[in-house]
């Protein structure tokens, strides 16, 4: 298992490398650079000043040199300083990562609890009005774009006169306020996840309940509850876990939007601003972080299969 995880980690690094090369090259095609941004509200500007500032930031060097310098830094754990803020990129990523992680974690947890719970209930009550209602709800929520969900949440809150406290408070400094700020966006994110998981759980449960080993368990006198939860749910978890992984990626996409709507200084906002400012090191780092998150989550999902399914656990050792 450990070697499996390690090997996956190494391969993940390869993938990240490829991604960062792609991003590095592609991003330079966008016209304009940080110096233009810094001087965007200046009056008279001489070309000499522009050239001087560019050189200060190493933007005049060949692309390959810039990339190797950046890459060398990354290997030594130094993501460089932001061209825009001058602060270490690592610090920025760290403080932006917390709310994003919080959002996505909370979103996935709420989504998983709601989704798996309602999926199990729905499968249990197959054909009853409750099942129909749950399925309809999941169909609707699955179709609501996170964008709209976020906006409608905001509209709803405005309608009832509830104000999300401002400004954003980091988790560490003010957990209570932070929760008040995170909970609604997380909820807005989680409903789609819940809907997807609910559907998947339901169909996986139904599929599993038709399996021979369920019949066999019933035949050997296992109580219906145990058949359902012990044998049914555990086996149904495998496709659900896969979906959980893809949903996480989906959720990360969603945070980009939700952070904009709810004004949360997360990774998405950071990336968005960095792109607008042509803050190359920050863009690179943010992209790497997204990639890393995806890879880690996929790895976790893969590892969790092993927890559920001994066959997979075995194949890996």
């Amino acid at each position: 298992m450990l070697t499996f995880a390690l090997r996956r980690a190494v391969l993940g690094i390869f993938v990240l490398f490829a991604v960062s090369v792609l991003v590095f090259v592609a991003f330079r095609f966008i016209p304009g650079d940080i110096v233009d941004q810094q001087l965007s509200e200046a009056g008279a500007v001489t070309p000499e000043l522009v050239a001087q500032k560019r050189a200060e930031m190493g933007l005049d060097k060949p692309l390959l040199v810039q990339f190797t310098e950046w890459g060398r830094g990354v290997i030594q754990g130094d993501l460089g300083n932001s061209l825009w803020t001058g602060r270490p990129v690592l610090d920025q990523i760290r403080s932006a990562l917390v709310p994003t992680l919080q959002l996505s974690m909370l979103g996935i947890i709420i989504g998983a609890v709601l989704g798996i719970g309602s999926g199990v209930a729905s499968a249990l009550w197959t054909g009853t009005p409750a099942d129909v209602a749950l399925r309809m709800a999941s169909t609707v929520f699955l179709a609501i774009p996170q964008l709209w969900m976020g906006l409608m949440t905001l509209t709803g809150l405005a309608a009832i006169g509830y104000y999300i406290p401002i400004p954003y408070r980091p988790l560490m400094s003010d957990p209570l306020t932070n929760l008040q700020q995170i909970i609604f966006p997380a909820l807005a994110l989680s409903l789609g996840v819940a809907a997807a998981l609910s559907r998947m759980t339901r169909s996986a449960m139904l599929e599993v309940t038709g399996a021979d080993f369920i019949r066999a368990a019933r035949a050997r006198g296992v109580s219906p509850g145990d058949v359902y939860m012990r044998h049914g749910l555990k086996n149904a978890m495998i496709p659900v876990l896969t979906l959980l992984g893809t949903q996480f990626s989906n959720l990360l996409s969603g945070t980009v939007i939700i952070e904009q709507i709810f004004n949360i200084p997360g990774l998405g906002n950071l990336l968005f601003e960095a792109v607008a400012n042509r803050d190359y090191p920050t863009v690179q780092a943010a992209v790497l972080t997204y990639g890393l998150l995806t890879i880690v989550v996929n790895l976790l999902v893969d590892l969790s299969y092993g927890l559920v399914d001994p066959r997979i656990r075995e194949a890996r050792s």
Binding site: T209, G210, A211, D212, F213, I214, R215, A216, A217, R218, A219, R220, G221, V222, S223, P224, D226, R230, H231, K234, N235, V308, D309, P310, R311, E314
Partner: protein, 326 residues
């Protein structure tokens, strides 16, 4: 068959929605006896035994007929009542065709055994282990102690089927139902497993209902045989007797279409194929394929009636045939 039968099935009919996939199945098994249910694919063997075990799923229901277990009618019981009557596992044990699919892949053999042991009141961890090991040893698994902690996929097909048998027997049932328990196995393994089932059945004095489509298995395993065709039992009798003197035209055709193993020579093939529930012929269900069918056969549906030597026959020409056969 002097002793009253443990299991007695009379006129059992099973429907899935409007489809009657099994209509009029009758047979009985006594303690320590083994009965084989044979018939071609789709003839309703599995449905019959699932109905007996109370495992009809997906909209299946017993429409008519009775199933009595030691004199008590069980066919009308709800799942709850079945559990209360301790039918599931405790009195009726079941082995399935495909051991790879009938064992839950995410639990060890031991964990699944424990579920069965719990029915007999054994729940303490140490007791479970001891008893579990005992059962696995009983079915001849090598390293029974260690096998308890194995997952199904870590066993070979034959071993899995043995584990399945151990689990089915661990709750000490009175009746063992085995639905094609060896079809998925190789001949050498099949022989081992069948031998084991037979041995245990004798030792534990179980009533065995064995579903198969292989006359070789019937010959080797069963005391009695019920031949099924298109959802009906068409002939019931002692195995040796039926193999020697099949009476029903279908039984005869079935036996003669078996390859003999003699080189060359055509096989006497039975034309056509088993009808399905949607296009069931009128009258005798076998008449379109029957060599001796007459006009009445397409009109009148024959009933399963006793004949000589304790034989039951479903044929309008039963009398003639019997005379002919003997």
């Amino acid at each position: 068959m002097a002793a009253p039968p443990v299991l007695d099935v009379q006129g059992l009919a099973v429907t899935y929605g409007t489809l009657e996939v099994c209509s009029d199945v009758s047979f009985s098994v006594g303690r320590g006896r083994s009965l084989a249910l044979i018939g071609e694919s789709g003839s309703g063997k599995s449905v019959t035994v699932l109905a007996i075990a109370g495992l009809l799923g997906g909209g299946g229901a017993i429409a008519r007929g009775s199933v009595t277990l030691e004199g008590a009618e069980i066919s009308r019981l709800s799942p709850k009542e079945r559990r209360r009557a301790r039918l599931m596992g405790r009195r009726i044990g079941m082995i399935f065709q495909n051991p790879s699919r009938a064992l839950d892949p995410v639990y060890t053999i031991g964990q699944q055994l424990n579920e069965a042991l719990a029915l007999t009141g054994i729940t303490a961890k140490a007791d479970c282990r001891r008893k579990g090991t005992e059962w696995l040893r009983h079915v001849g698994l090598p390293d029974p102690e260690e096998a308890l902690d194995r997952y199904p996929h870590q066993l070979s097909g034959g071993q899995r089927q043995r584990a399945m048998i151990a689990i089915a027997l661990a709750s000490e049932p009175e009746i063992l139902i085995a639905d094609e328990p060896t079809t998925a196995l190789d001949v050498t393994i099949q022989a081992q497993v069948l031998n084991l089932i037979r041995r245990l059945q004798r030792e534990l004095n179980l009533a065995l209902v064995l579903v198969t489509h292989d006359f070789g298995v019937v010959a080797a395993m069963a005391d009695d045989v019920a031949v099924m065709y298109a959802g009906q039992v068409v002939e019931v009798g002692a195995v040796a007797d039926i193999i020697r003197r099949p009476v029903h035209p279908y039984t005869r055709a079935l036996l003669s279409s078996l390859p003999t193993g003699k080189p060359g020579g055509r096989i006497e093939a039975l034309a056509g194929s088993v009808p399905t529930a949607v296009d069931m012929p009128s009258g005798c269900r076998f008449h379109p394929r029957c060599g001796i069918a007459e006009g009445k056969c397409s009109v009148t549906a024959p009933r399963l009636e006793p004949s000589t030597y304790g034989r039951l026959l479903r044929c309008l020409n039963a009398e003639e045939l019997r005379a002919h056969a003997i």
